[in-house]
Each structure stands twice: as structure tokens, then as C-alpha cells.
């Protein structure tokens, strides 16, 4: 086993990484530091915190690589470290405000659509203006943490349901449920925002047809 050069799915030498090879580790850092940084910004909403989490993530990764068992992808493992670090930071800041395992009452309920405005025909340029992009970020920050992390991993980072479950220690069913709730809440926020921008007062749902 010790003579073999085991490669990860993304082409890194696990053998070298686990032996503490700094050149291979630097290659790993270069491949993933941008995605890890962005993940942290989106979970924490703050560039300075994100930079701290980025550094902690790779310090821990280096330290614990010898324990990496290869059962998940290396990238999933890095996401897991980063997400845990970010959640611990949030917990330290607001010890009572968050539980990723047991969301507080109401945090996870279905958001029944209240805003029924068809804003989909807006020009994409306007939907993606710098002001709109800022609003997209704010809307994510308004989500309860337990929903936000799932949304960020699935819909922004593009992890599969299974991988997201591995990162967060959640069943696939729990991932799907939280993703659904996060998306419905964001849809509501964006409908309010883009509906206003369309210059139309959003029409409250009056019961359909």
C-alpha cells in the first residue's frame, strides 16, 4: 500500500498529500481556495470572516489529511471542513440563534407563495444589475442558517443531493426538504424585489381560479 501512488478523482496524489508533501498540497490549495472562499462568503456574508475560514479550512485539511479515508471525494471533504468551520463561527457569535440539526420552530416551514407576480420576462441585464446582485446576496443572508447552507451547497456550488448530505451529515430526504423550503423563500423575496422593480404592485394571491 505504501508504494502505491493513489490518485484522487480530481487528480491529486493522495499518497503525497497524506505524506505531507507541500508541493502537492499547494496544488490542492490552488485548485480549491476560490470555491472555498466563495462558499464561506455565502454562508457568513462577510469577506473577513470568509478569509479566516478559508485559512482554517486548509490548516485543518493539512493536519487531518492522513485521516482522510477516501470514502467521499476530496472536494466534498474540504467542503465539509469549511462548512463546519463556518457553522462553528456562527455558533460562537450567536450561541442561541442557531441549530443546524434542529431548526427552530418555523424556520423550516413551507413558505406558501404569497407573491404572485410574473417577473420572469424582465430583461436579464436588469435582473443581474449590480444592485440586483446585491439583493440576491441579501436574500440568501435572510434565510435561516439550516436552509442557507443547503441552498449554497446545492444550488450555488452545484453539489449533488448525496454530496450535500455528506457535507452536512443529513439524509437525502432532509437535503431535498430544506432545499425546497430555501428555494420557495428565496422565490418569495425575489418576487417582492423584482415585482417592485417592474413598477407594478405585487398582487397578493386572491385564491387563483
Amino acid at each position: 500500500m505504501s508504494d502505491e501512488n493513489i490518485l484522487t478523482e480530481d487528480g491529486f496524489s493522495l499518497t503525497a498529500l497524506q505524506a505531507g508533501d507541500k508541493v502537492e498540497f499547494a496544488r490542492l490549495v490552488d485548485a480549491y481556495y476560490q470555491v472555498i472562499y466563495r462558499l464561506a462568503v455565502k454562508i457568513l456574508g462577510n469577506p473577513q470572516d470568509a478569509e479566516d475560514i478559508l485559512q482554517e479550512t486548509f490548516i485543518k485539511a493539512f493536519r487531518y489529511l492522513p485521516d482522510f479515508n477516501g470514502r467521499s471525494r476530496l472536494s466534498t471533504w474540504l467542503y465539509r471542513i469549511a462548512t463546519n468551520e463556518a457553522l462553528m463561527l456562527i455558533r460562537r457569535r450567536k450561541p442561541d440563534a442557531i441549530s443546524i440539526d434542529e431548526p427552530r420552530n418555523g424556520d423550516e416551514q413551507d413558505q406558501e407563495p404569497l407573491q404572485i407576480v410574473d417577473w420572469c420576462c424582465m430583461p436579464e441585464q436588469e435582473m443581474l444589475s449590480s444592485e440586483s446582485r446585491e439583493y440576491l446576496d441579501q436574500a440568501i443572508e435572510s434565510l435561516p442558517t439550516s436552509l442557507r447552507v443547503v441552498f449554497v451547497l446545492r444550488d450555488i456550488e452545484g453539489l449533488s443531493t448525496l454530496e450535500t448530505g455528506e457535507v452536512l451529515n443529513l439524509s437525502e430526504t432532509a437535503v431535498k426538504t430544506r432545499l425546497s423550503r430555501a428555494r420557495l423563500r428565496l422565490r418569495e423575496e425575489l418576487t417582492r424585489y423584482y415585482g417592485d422593480r417592474m413598477g407594478r404592485k405585487p398582487v397578493a394571491n386572491e385564491g387563483g381560479r
Binding site: R38, P47, E112, L184, R187
Partner: protein
Amino acid sequence: MAHENCKHLLGSLSEYIDGALGDEICAEIEKHLAGCENCRVVIDSLKKTVYLYHVTSEDPQVPDGVRNRLMQRLDLKDLIDK
């Protein structure tokens, strides 16, 4: 969305737009959509919501200096000493 049918479908819409549902429930949803404009608007705006976050997923740019500070930090003894 005030109809019982609409509420009943709400929890499935996310998987529906991912194409992750079985034929039977898809058919049920599509039958409902054909007669419910509100639900069509909700589905379209739900898809657009996911799309907008997808196309902005590379935001923000990583600021200058982040990589250098990271590499510097990783050479500290923190990392070498277990």
C-alpha cells in the same frame, strides 16, 4: 395557491423543476398547471430564482491578496507542528 391542490403540490415543486420526480406525479402536476395560472407563475419564478443564483455563482471575485495571505499562513508552524 389558495386551493388545496396548490398547497398539496407545493412541497413537490422544487423536485419537479429538477426533473427528479416520477412520471405519475409529474403528470399530476402538469395537469394541475394547465388549469392554474398562479401555479404556473410560481413554477416559472422558482425556476428563474434557481437560475439567477446559478449564473451568479462565481460572484464574488476573490479579492487580491487572499491567495498570498493564505499561502503565507499555511507555511506557519501551525501547519507543520501537529
